[in-house]
Symmetry: C4
Subunit: 344 residues, 4 copies
């Protein structure tokens, strides 16, 4: 493998994956690919409208062929360049490992239906629909999505509990409604599975109104179950929302701590700045928010010349620590800010 080839591979890797800071072209490429994915999703949706498909049949086909070509090249380039991921492994092993990653499988899944469609001409419509799942290629570009997924994993216990209660409530609601209503409305509440549709529509507060209790007893039972259920159906959203809030604040706290540590000597030097920047990117915090956190830390820490616990607002006196200093030749950490203007 020539050196030039390896340099090319390195540049392709930075262009496509840009860990940390890739070239500016990488961002342009990202936006172009995102737009292409969205255009693909819209195209597949519009194709199902018979009137549009009839007149623009050829354009849709051309657009799909071009898209698949681009996605295929993208996939092959990514696989080829993935050898840069783990330089210590032989290239083919690094590539095999990458090909088994979820992102690579989604990329493969985005083009495979097209090539299968070339081999087997049957069930074309199903293959056309499968192209819609190209939307999952977008997950690569959304760091927030990975946050949400990790929150769902963290709160899995609570979510399972919420869905368990919802399921038990559904069975209870469907059984009750079946018993109360199945004589008055044999077509809608004729069996428990049928009544389950009403229970689902009611407990999730969707309330289409295609099936509603009509007997007085049914209405009383329906009202009772609705009041109970309305609390349960919104539970998963509440759990995820509070978990998410918690998760994002933990990430910001991590960055805030880093800022505090760096600012203890009054300024962020080059090495500290680089370290913080690395952390910021890892945590997926935007530059704006990082800046806001920095100025908040500055506001709290620097002008007072004292250490104050933001959790409780208590100001630790710097002189108490100074007394410790006088007993010790080495200067203790909390005095550094004080000493800077005079001593250093």
């Amino acid at each position: 493998m020539s050196h030039g080839k390896e340099g090319l591979r390195r540049r392709a890797y930075l262009l496509l994956e840009h860990p940390g800071t890739g070239p500016r072209l990488a961002r342009v490429l990202d936006v172009a690919l995102i737009l292409l994915i969205i255009a693909n999703v819209i195209a597949v949706a519009l194709e199902t409208v018979p009137r549009i498909y009839a007149t623009h049949h050829a354009s849709f086909r051309a657009f799909d062929t071009i898209s698949v070509a681009i996605f295929s090249v993208e996939y092959m380039l990514r696989v080829w360049a993935s050898a840069e991921r783990e330089p210590r492994l032989p290239p083919w092993r690094a590539r095999l490992r990458y090909m088994r990653s979820p992102m690579a499988l989604i990329d493969l899944g985005a083009v495979l239906p097209f090539f299968i469609g070339l081999l087997f001409t049957s069930n074309l419509q199903m293959l056309r629909i499968l192209r819609l799942f190209r939307i999952y290629k977008l997950t690569r570009y959304s760091p927030a999505l990975s946050v949400l997924i990790s929150v769902i994993r963290e709160e899995a216990g609570a979510l399972v509990a919420a869905f368990s209660i919802l399921t038990i409530l559904l069975v209870f609601a469907a059984t009750g409604a079946y018993l109360v209503e199945h004589e008055a409305q044999p077509s809608e509440f004729g069996s428990i599975p049928a009544a389950m549709w009403w229970a689902l529509v009611t407990l999730t507060t969707v309330g289409y109104g295609d099936v509603t209790p009509i007997t007085p007893l049914g209405k009383v039972f329906g009202g009772f179950i609705t009041v109970l259920g309305v609390g349960m159906a919104a539970l998963p959203a509440g759990i995820i929302a509070s978990g998410l809030a918690d998760h994002l604040h933990r990430r910001r706290d991590q960055l805030r701590n880093e800022f505090r540590l760096a600012l203890e000597d009054g300024k962020i030097d080059l090495e500290e700045g680089r370290q913080i920047e690395r952390l910021r990117r890892e945590l997926g915090i935007s530059r704006d928010i990082a800046h806001a956190i920095l100025s908040e830390v500055r506001l709290r820490q620097v002008p007072r010349g004292e250490c104050c616990c933001p959790a409780c607002g208590h100001v630790f006196d710097s002189r108490k620590l100074a007394s410790v200093r006088s007993a010790e030749p080495s200067k203790p950490g909390l005095q550094r800010i004080h000493d800077k203007p005079e001593g250093r």
Copy 2:
């Protein structure tokens, strides 16, 4: 009672209840029983579909008989083995106590309707439906459910307040709608109890649409009450969700504290590990999350060699503590655990 019989009882107890770590067979048994319960619930639901019941009458009966046999054996084994729960009591007292526990009553309730049905042949359909409540046997296998129930108990005050306001709002909405609409729609809003159905369906945001205000004044009142109500109906879910988040975080904090204490000497020794494992199982925290907490604690505590307040992120200087140590012959606190293996 022979020794062999007691050994058998002990093994049955570990198999069925497996407190802490039972044999691997116990997990297989759990899954089998869970699947059987779910199959029972589905069977009872499908039996209410006349078409299915007509053709598969005999299969349903056979499946029910087999299920009841299994559940009965399970119940009797559990009662017999429950003597192991409190070894200091005479077996019959331990068993009586177990038989009065909610879990045992649910197990009994799952099989009793069948035997009652054998004695009294009337009202068969009602007894068939009662079998559906076998779903509550599942609660044994869901630790998260017990968490949810304890959260609901903790937040009972807030939940009662939310439901009180909802009730007052319901009465207010139904009365207002009755006054405004009962002349235009005498069949839907002819009385306050009738208008209550509209109020319930509206305030819980289900909104079937079977009853809606049609007069302009009714629509203004309906709109006003809806905007107010939409905040109230979702309140219980919000209360439970934030209580749940709080509860789960408190449990994790408890484990985190245990890790911190154990890690103060830099490593978790055998005794500490066993203690933490016991706590983890008690709190119902998964191995994955416990691992994540451990690495977080490690990241924060060990490499720095300093004590840091996670509430405010401030690192207390280790030299301050060093100065205390040099002035005192007795070893200062953060060194104690370190010294334990050697010194004591």
Copy 3:
């Protein structure tokens, strides 16, 4: 005023208002009055059902007369006994002050319509409905309700912001829907006030379905506004729920602090117990929860013999403080628990 009369007034006061611990009869009286209020609300609701009213006309009238008699006596007793509230004021001033309190006005409002009805025989039906507001007498018995009201006051700023955005969104949605749909559906979307009904029903996610967009553009606009709105309508509930959680936890923290302070010497003495009981009642925390908090505090504080910050889990070493003690003749507070078994 004889001494016997004042003793009677004192007992009536304790019976009706029982600040802190009244006689057991007081609780029976409370439950009886609560049941009477609920029975009144149900009676008024049932009276509006023409069929029931026709047959039970006399019973309703009798029940109402008896209820008003009881409520009137209750009101007069409360006013008479209210002189005990502020013993330093002359009785008539204390009573006037009580009569102007919201609770007394609600009590008066519960009986006044009846006496007005005796004077003016017109508009009987309206007066019958007014009796329904006797439900507000229940607020006296719900401490949680006063919590909820204080939370709503605390979060007023956020709630006003949420309703402001909702209003602006409503105007925007109604205007957009009017522009897009008023040609296709002149009867439903013929004017902005008419379209406002659709906007309200949609943004609160009630969705009756009596008015829906039918043009493609209307559906696109409706979908867009729904996705936006669904986040806004649930906002007030979320704000109140998180405010409530916060408020209740603050109250428990207050009690927890009191327990911690009292337990610093290892036991709660008589005076401390009385003080905590007073606080518990003031904060409206149930005995069960107070007990749970106490055992949690005990678990955390006593066995370790060290002081640990539950917020950060850091264990303050008792020996560091011991070194301070050796320099000081008076024993410092944190050592008290340690010393108990040996020294005292």
Copy 4:
């Protein structure tokens, strides 16, 4: 420019913008302008009702002309007075800068359609509707709205994640419903864009009921997607609510810290009071809440004479600090503020 003119400009500026404390007239003017804006919005809405417009045509026209006159004068005065904003810039530059601010553009947008309507007489109705956006002039008067907007900006990452998942879920739901239902209901589920309407109405729990699945498979898929979706649609509200709660509490904490610092010497002196008042107004906290915070801080801090950590409620012993003082000639920290008036 004469001195009198500048004095007038200064007074106009204080009247209209009143940074901090303007004259009392400023508040009257604010209320009058708010009422005029609301009256305008109501007028525009009523104009779209054909029956009302037909009879009150002239009144609407007159009211609009008067309103535009007032708003125009207001706009011109604001622009003229805006020279006071940045006294160091030449007036025309300060005015140009103000004219480009969002608030000024909204003010301009409120009157411009009227003047355009005078020039071009076509499409009158559209211009009438545009007047409705005068409602945005209200944003100037709602400090809570700016809080909400800054919360939305803070939580942008989480909100984007929630909407991304919602979008992917929508595409998934619409595709699934199209595949399952398009043969049974070709008019409602005939294409993916058509099925998208059902998906939107269902996932946001609006549930009009104009389009519902009718095949058994469609109902199973619909039920599954609804249970999943109900958690996602309420997510943005949950995120904003918890972010808002967090934001408001952070603001109050800031004020609380300021009170604590000021109260360390037992009283708030004049300079401290002025500083706190400035902060209170900046943070948009009402006088009532500020007062509540102050009394809470007083309750916790002053009477005890000791330092207590509100995070854990532990009271640090004052004697420990006393021992440090006796060993050191320099006064320890907690005494410093006390000493200030006398010693320095």
